[in-house]
Amino acid sequence: MNCQDLRRLLDNLGREQLDLDATSAVLAHTQTCGACAESWTAVAALREQRIPATPPALLGNIVESCAECERVPDAGRRVRLGWAAFMLTVVGAALAATVILVTTSTEDADSMKALADSPPPDAAEDSTSTNADGSDGPSVTEKAGVRAPAGDSPQAASTSRDTISLDDYSIVVVLSVDRNAADTTQAAVRSVESRLIERLSAEGFNMISGAAVSSYVQAGFEDVEIGRLLGAAVVVTIDSETLRERPQVRIELVDAETESAFGLSVLAIDAVEIFDDFDSPFGDASPLDAIVRSIERRTAPATSLEPEPTTAEIVAENTQTALDTTLSDQDRMMGIVRLRGAQGSIRQDAVIFAAIELAAASDDATVRGTIWQQLRGADSGYLIEPLLAAIDTESDEFARREAAATLADYADDARVRAALERLSRNDASERVREAATGALLPEAELDEMLKARIVDPALPVADRMRALMMNPFGDGRFGFDGSVPIDGEVADALIAIAFDPANDEIDRAAAVLFLRQAATPRSTAILLELLAGDESARVRAAAASALTGAAGETAVRVALEDASDEDSDRSVRSAARRALDGAP
């Protein structure tokens, strides 16, 4: 018996007795494995726990309570006031010229919940509120506190992030569909919304969406205000935008209390994700996974739901996942992705062998390509033969290209060089040929080639930015393992890109972010100038982020504090606040 066997045994153990063989195997294993001994101790203690008999009077008491509940119909029920009552409350509040803060406790929440439950004008039948208990069992999730809008118009309502108590497990989804966008774009936005709601509901979050939210949007409330009004600590905004003529779905996670954005993902509608810059401690293959993980991570410290896993725990858990042949190829691949993210590169022979076997046997080309990609930097001689075989026999362009790029690690080997040279000339795919060419270049030469592109004003800015992100192949994926060093010449090129308002906003913001690496007094001054005066909120937010490392300087700190209080755009305020929080 090994750790995996024991874990599986415990997962499937009911209240039955273990037979002698299983007992002996468990005993033998737990004597050699401390972690499994702990698990077994817990299970053993619970199996031995003695449970009192059900009190004989319990059933009678329950029936009596139910009868009482029938006699007093509102007892124990959520009271729903109509919109008219809601408006009366609002008008009353306006007359009193005050903002009503309503804080409830679990026991006496009914009257307060009536306010939260009162739908705005058209929010009656089609509003969605999904709880982890699904459609079968009744939802019992309760909002910790709500605030009644005050004033004679919805816009007059305001909320105080200092005093309100928000439910960490409630999430408001604010959907913004551009009616002028293409049908496919609108459908993609709605699809992302439904997938996100389904996934987060399954993770136990109370999802508030649909008309319950859209009517607040129509009434002019800001996203974070809607979150506070509905008692939710997290607001997810989903909308569409066009970047470099490609339609995207943009998903942003915002903390309703602090107004800080804590996650952003942008997915290209026509293909795969362009990028996602979640602040994730380890790699996530799917933006959806990353969203869920970001929300869980945000929630965990607030409620101590689960301790943050240590790197050792992540490595241990994902090593098991990678090696477990009973799991799906995709699950094992995710284990390898996370493993690499946690420890930088995959170093264990057992995992390398498992990855090779998976890349050779999987029917899924994405799995094969991703595995070759994740093995970059593994520096294992065992990989050479399988990689050479892959570039010869792999039918999928992505998987072949990733295999070729990973072979760059072994380009000193004569056979590898010969194979890459062959590939760079003969492969049917231009992208594979380019990857092979890139793999043959020494790092310094590759940097020179990329730098020449970055500083060349004659090239389109998008191409120069791709070169900056060490992706000369133009395949829409950002970033391999780093970027070209930002020397003075590159910094000048970036400043020129950042300051030219004719450039695409996303390119300007990316240039600003990369300026952070220059970390010179001149670049700091440039960033301050952009933060204070650029017309684009995206560029100002990028400048605020890029100033994180310099936030210890008084002038920078003052500028960030000003931006965090006064900038007209929430994303800039949020970025400035994060920069201040992350100051050295």
């Binding site: 702990e38 077994w40 199996r47 319990l58 029936v63 509940c69 910790a144 409620t303």
Partner: protein
């Protein structure tokens, strides 16, 4: 005098009351809170009794309501801890009549240690371990919690390790590490 609807509801839930109470006792750690939790669960269920009758597995349906209720309250209370089992309540534990006083004392000590360790777990961890200890399969637990099997097994694993660690923190108990059936 209970109404006919309340009486009929009592009839519906009676077969499941022991399961509900056992799970509630594991969750709360004492009889009084367990009774309260079961009562509140049943009151919620009474307001949705049509759904209860339509449920494929009424027991799982009720356990799911109880699970959600417990989690929601625990989330709101955040720092609420399981109270230690009072000594006099320990005497109400079933099946200890045949044990001599010394063994009974050891049993009680062990029970108190478990409750101490249990109180240090997060509510979700307690809830999952309680369901598992009550013999629910992973498929049942998936239906009850709405979590995927992979999430469930990962969380169960962490919860077991945490409880084992807490149990091991204060005690050096080679003879209590293993269940009775393993000591033969």
């Amino acid at each position: 005098m209970p109404s006919s609807q309340a009486a009929a509801f009592g009839h519906d839930i009676e077969p499941h009351l022991t399961s509900l109470f056992r799970a509630a006792y594991r969750l709360t750690g004492n009889v009084a809170d367990a009774e309260d939790l079961v009562q509140d669960t049943c009151l919620h269920a009474f307001s949705k009794r049509a759904s209860l009758r339509a449920a494929t597995s009424p027991c799982n349906w009720l356990i799911r309501v109880q699970y959600n209720l417990f989690i929601d309250r625990a989330r709101l209370a955040e720092t609420r801890r399981v109270e230690r089992l009072e000594p006099e309540l320990a005497a109400t534990l079933t099946g200890d009549g045949r044990l001599n006083p010394e063994v009974r004392h050891e049993e009680r000590e062990r029970e108190l240690r478990l409750l101490d360790a249990w109180s240090k777990l997060m509510p979700e961890q307690r809830a999952l371990l309680a369901l598992k200890a009550e013999g629910h399969s992973l498929a049942d637990m998936q239906a009850i919690t709405g979590l995927s099997i992979s999430v469930l097994t990962a969380r169960l694993h962490r919860a077991r390790q945490r409880l084992g660690r807490e149990l091991g923190r204060n005690v050096d108990t080679t003879d209590t590490d293993l269940p009775m059936e393993c000591q033969r």
